[in-house]
Symmetry: C2
Subunit: 707 residues, 2 copies
């Protein structure tokens, strides 16, 4: 795998050249292993393909092998010999030792996989390496001349970071257990190893407590995980090499606790579950001992359910309003020499840390928990910027990065891929760097449902998975997108729905009308980014998520293809240009509106997209005018250029909570048409690069405005 070093920007998501070179299976692994050698040859997988495990006794090894074999059987369409305990077989897996009783963040995850045309051997220090190695093995299986084979390879692999997580938030919108388990399947496929399970929020308390049953009885509207379900999820995750870290968000984001137990609050209540999105004032009262008694019992109960050494206590976005308005709280602060809400929160964190320590747990929190008064044993999750991470590391706390990995921000995969927890040039000592354990992709739940969550998570979470597993030098965005497409198909085989649900969900928007015209539009737009969606319409927990924006995707292969086609066109010498490909695309865009508009006018859920469709028509026409100007070698007049750019500016504006992907490519066409004369004195490559520089700068400015 040749890693091309690129400064990754948003533009990279579109610039990606997705090369036509045929890639071998060994070049299509995701995440890219530390070391791969491949000299050709392949091991056939036929009806006689035997598998065996040997080495240390850990039931996870055999189970992992059995799952792999079952998946192979499904792919091949015929049965395979059942795996057995043996030292010889076509595929032998061997863990040198059993894993820890509770998977630890420091546990060895490395593996070695050698496949020859005769046999395959996977060895690892622990069952975790076996799980990861089998995921690699499965990615190497391809069809070759009508039969299944595994490419011959020699792989040495281990993760760059030990903590590679994904946060799920079933609080704001409910996600049943099936969603959690299929997400665990997908995580295992890309070697993510921590499920961060966000279990309490203003909008809902999502886990059964037998000690304090009013938590779920009054705080969940019936949507919560039973303790049996939790145990099964934890076991399911363990089988797949995944730790489960529960988060109970306190002392803010805590309305759902207070509905059933108002006496824990800094305000008298009564409290109602929150149904909107945002940051709310309700907050626990950290000045009363009864809170710590309550939490001691609660965390004791939870410690029995979640074996992981970490418990996440939230700590983000604590609003000081109720504390500042409470005389007893203010008096307590005076007595304890706490100056403000930040000090009071630090006091709370110290006490919670003691509670957790009594139950054998380490405390983890969002970066607001960082405070000089807290012990070094806490783990800080940085979400507000990279400074939080560095600050925690400098203070000697372990830390993980989530800033830049918020999948709910609807950024393209390339954007997340470019975020490194330890980028070159980060000013940390080796000792400090060791505190940076890894990162977590976060999928906050405002705009996801069981129906669309796969498409919001995947394949982008795989880009984060690779960033956290593979060497830092692996950062070729073109190649990432090539492999994400393959990964999407692998995940579809696992039962994930992001690929298969796309067209049917669009179809639903237009009822009995043909779906293709809408799909042509939907392919070219993405949901608005960061937190802009909430500014455009009012949402509650009950708002249906069944509009174009809910189907539109944060990456666009057709837009990337168009960008490449424009590049190819402009990189040809003017005399030899062929614009057939670009012209065909633009013509299809221009002519789509005539077909789509009557459909939209007849489809209330998607009628809001009518001006977008009309703009696509205008954008197509604009592009065709450029092609004509380029073909005629006739530079566009400055007034005409200004007019075209006004149209592009207008078309760039968000509507129906989506935006076009294709404006930058069209900007480039306009610029190219206006600046043809430069080709007399410069090479096409330099000229093309100059055009790209303008377009990329405008894109970066737009993104900065949105943030």
């Amino acid at each position: 795998m040749l890693a091309i070093v690129l400064g990754v920007s948003l533009a990279a998501a579109l610039e990606a050249a997705e090369p036509e070179r045929p890639a071998t299976p060994a070049q299509s692994l995701l995440p890219v292993p530390l070391h791969v050698e491949s000299d050709g040859g392949a091991l056939p997988i036929d009806r006689g393909f035997t598998t065996a495990w040997t080495g240390a006794d850990d039931p996870r090894v055999a189970a992992a092998l059995q799952r792999s074999v079952a998946r192979l059987e499904k792919r091949l369409g015929h049965p395979l010999p059942a795996p057995r305990r043996a030292a010889q077989a076509r595929l032998v897996v061997e863990a040198a030792s059993a894993g820890l009783p509770v998977q630890s963040v420091s546990e060895d995850e490395s593996y070695r996989l050698v496949v020859t045309p005769r046999e395959a051997r996977l060895t690892a220090a622990t069952p975790l390496g076996i799980v990861h190695g089998l995921a690699t093995f499965e990615q190497l299986v391809v069809s070759e001349g009508g039969r299944a084979v595994v490419t011959a390879v020699k792989i040495e692999d281990r993760p760059r970071f030990a903590w590679r997580g994904l946060l799920l938030d079933p609080c704001r919108r409910w996600e049943p257990v099936e969603v959690i388990t299929r997400t665990l399947d997908a995580m295992a496929a890309v070697k993510l190893n921590v499920l961060h399970w966000h279990l309490s929020e203003d909008q809902g308390f999502r886990i059964e407590s037998k000690r304090w049953p009013r938590l779920q009885e009054m705080g969940s509207e019936g949507h919560y995980y039973t303790q049996d379900q939790v145990r099964s999820v934890v076991a399911y995750a363990r089988e797949r090499g995944i730790r489960v870290v529960p988060e109970f968000d306190t002392p803010g984001h805590s309305t759902s606790w207070l509905v059933g137990y108002p006496e824990l609050g800094a305000f008298p209540g009564p409290f109602e579950l929150v149904r909107e999105w945002g940051i709310f004032d309700n907050v626990l009262d950290p000045t009363r001992d009864r809170l710590y008694e309550f939490l001691d019992a609660f965390f004791g109960e939870m410690a029995g359910l979640f074996p992981d050494e970490y418990v996440h206590i939230g700590g983000d976005e604590v609003m000081p309003r109720q504390w500042n308005a409470s005389l007893p709280v203010l008096d307590f602060m005076y007595q304890h020499r706490l100056r403000d809400a930040r000090d009071l929160q630090a006091y709370y964190n110290r006490r919670i840390n003691e509670v957790l320590a009594r139950h054998g747990k380490k405390m983890m929190g969002w970066d607001e928990v960082l405070h000089p008064d807290l012990p070094r044993s806490i783990l800080v999750q940085s979400w507000r910027g990279p400074e939080g991470l560095a600050q925690a590391a400098r203070q000697g706390c372990d830390t993980i990065l989530s800033d830049g990995y918020y999948l709910d921000h609807m950024l393209p995969a390339a954007q997340h891929y470019g975020v490194d927890p330890l980028p070159a040039g980060r000013n940390l000592s080796p000792e400090e760097s060791r505190h940076v354990l890894g990162g977590e992709a976060c999928m906050w739940g405002e705009f996801v449902t069981p129906e669309n969550i796969d498409a919001r998570l995947w394949p982008r979470a795989a880009a984060v998975a690779e960033r956290l597993w593979s060497p830092a030098e692996v950062k070729d965005v073109d190649d990432l997108y090539r492999r994400l497409e393959i990964q999407d198909r692998r995940l579809t085989d696992l039962g994930l729905t992001q690929v298969t649900s796309y067209t049917p969900r669009l179809q639903r928007l237009v009822g009995a009308h043909p779906v293709e015209p809408l799909q042509r539009l939907a392919d070219l737009v993405h949901p608005v980014r960061f937190y802009r969606r909430g500014h455009m319409r009012s949402y509650t927990t009950a708002t249906p998520l069944d509009r174009l924006v809910d189907v539109a995707r944060p990456d666009s292969a057709p837009a990337r293809a168009f960008r490449r086609a424009v590049d190819r066109l402009l990189l040809q010498p003017p005399a030899q240009r062929s614009d057939v490909e670009v012209r065909a695309t633009l013509t299809a865009w221009r002519d789509n509106h005539a077909v789509l508009d009557p459909i939209l006018a007849d489809s209330p859920q998607v009628a809001e997209a009518r001006t977008l469709s009309r703009d696509l028509q205008e954008l197509g026409s604009l592009g065709l005018r450029c092609l004509d100007g380029l073909a005629a070698g006739q530079a566009m007049a400055p007034e005409r250029q200004a007019e075209e750019e006004r149209l592009l500016d207008a078309a760039e504006r968000a509507r129906a909570e989506v935006e076009f992907w294709i404006i930058p490519s069209l900007r480039k066409l306009v610029l190219a048409t206006a600046r043809q004369a430069e080709l007399k004195t410069t090479s096409v490559e330099e000229w093309n690069a100059a055009l790209d520089a303008v377009v990329t700068r405008l894109e970066a400015q737009k993104l900065a405005r949105e943030r």
Copy 2:
């Protein structure tokens, strides 16, 4: 008046050196006139002091003279001869022509005032100049050896900007007519000439409509101005050379319209008056003709009440959510080729502009109304940054500045004073600059009541008044503060309450306890700035404003005095230093807590300030440690310095919604003590300047964080 050119910063509010040089009455005018000559001598005002008006016939001239005479009588304690129409008297005022039937923004406001030891003569082109000249005349009256005199002067004066406004917002919190009229008195005293009357908001509709009576009946909770009251305010303002521009905020900020007339909204309703602060979703539906019919009748009625040529239609902070969620609105937008909410608002503005034009009015709006589709005749009020102002001017629209003049941001007078609508270096052509008509101070109403509004407006609004009236070169902050203190006394004579209410309102917070200890603390803190207050506690229209933060002031003379005392101390050669003055102040601070704390503990409304009081004790001790170190010539150790700075950082944090003014001076003392050795190689002046540079940079960073 020697204007010292200073880069005005927040620090200037504290650095001000308030010189001890005795200033003459001619040097104490506010705003500073264009041209003043004063050679000594004075005109006595005794029982025989006659006054007369002559020239053009405009009742405002005689009325203004009568008001001045009445105020002189009150000051002197004896009657004066009644003014009469005549060409000769000790004071003669003469307007060359009657004013326009409706005061116009382009009307001549200049005047010439000549006072000799024998007589005074005030001449002006219009009655407006007479009103302004009399305000100047009154400022020149002083007691001299037990008798009243007017300093002999020759003044030529006219305003730099034609539009010098003050916005009052009686919507969020009600302000009765008495508040409006006494504010008009104060405005006239500093030559402000526009009352911008913000009359409708989400929280209330504050004017009687006979055509649409449900506006005030259902939208005001009984707090609205009757039409008779409005007419009397308009007349009262006209007498004082002040135009009244009403604002009816649409299409956002419009909940109070919708309570009585839900059919005007983009959502079906029903609607309730808003009781919180913020930006809300309710919005008028600009797609229906019935809205324009309604507004046509409404503005027709209002045109009869407000003679001014401008009507302000708001246009700020329009939330697109309800428009984006309405199928009929989206359909209308498609049909009218409007891409998004911004286009729809521009459509609305165009139609409203037509409605206003039918009633002979010009439209004015907040800077969001700027749109290429709107006619040049609209006036744009810039509030989101200086860019809006420049953009409007470049597009050929008249414009005024309010960004930087928000008095509710609780910034010191020096900060507003440093904001110039046309600063040197602003890249505008002379033609474009002419579109910059002036500015308006804004007092948004969230945190003001009839009780504290004077103290929130004055004297700071006078600093804005001077910026808009006086030459740009007049910008000596020291001198401004000196004259603001004098102006405060003048305004107190006019019946304004900012000076007289301070101690009694503090007294109320501590009941029967002595007030001095609390006042010592209150003198040294200011309310938190910008919009931070709303983040610290929850407020509604009904929350009482009766806490320390509501009495604390945005400027602090004691803090300025302390800063000067520290400067004087450090500018002395080390061998000759006398720290008596600084030591006395610090000792008083240190010892205040022992007295104040029991009072605070016994006073629930102000108990929240206990940690502040304790911090003042610690700050006093810190300062005394520095003095001891300076006296001993002993440099503070780095660890000690770090510790002192940690204490300063902690004490700097906001509590009870207030912050200390004195941290920068104490920082300087710490730095001075730590960096004494530098005095061996540098002059005290250079050393002092180096310390100031550090402190000023930290202050600027803090302010930037708060914004």
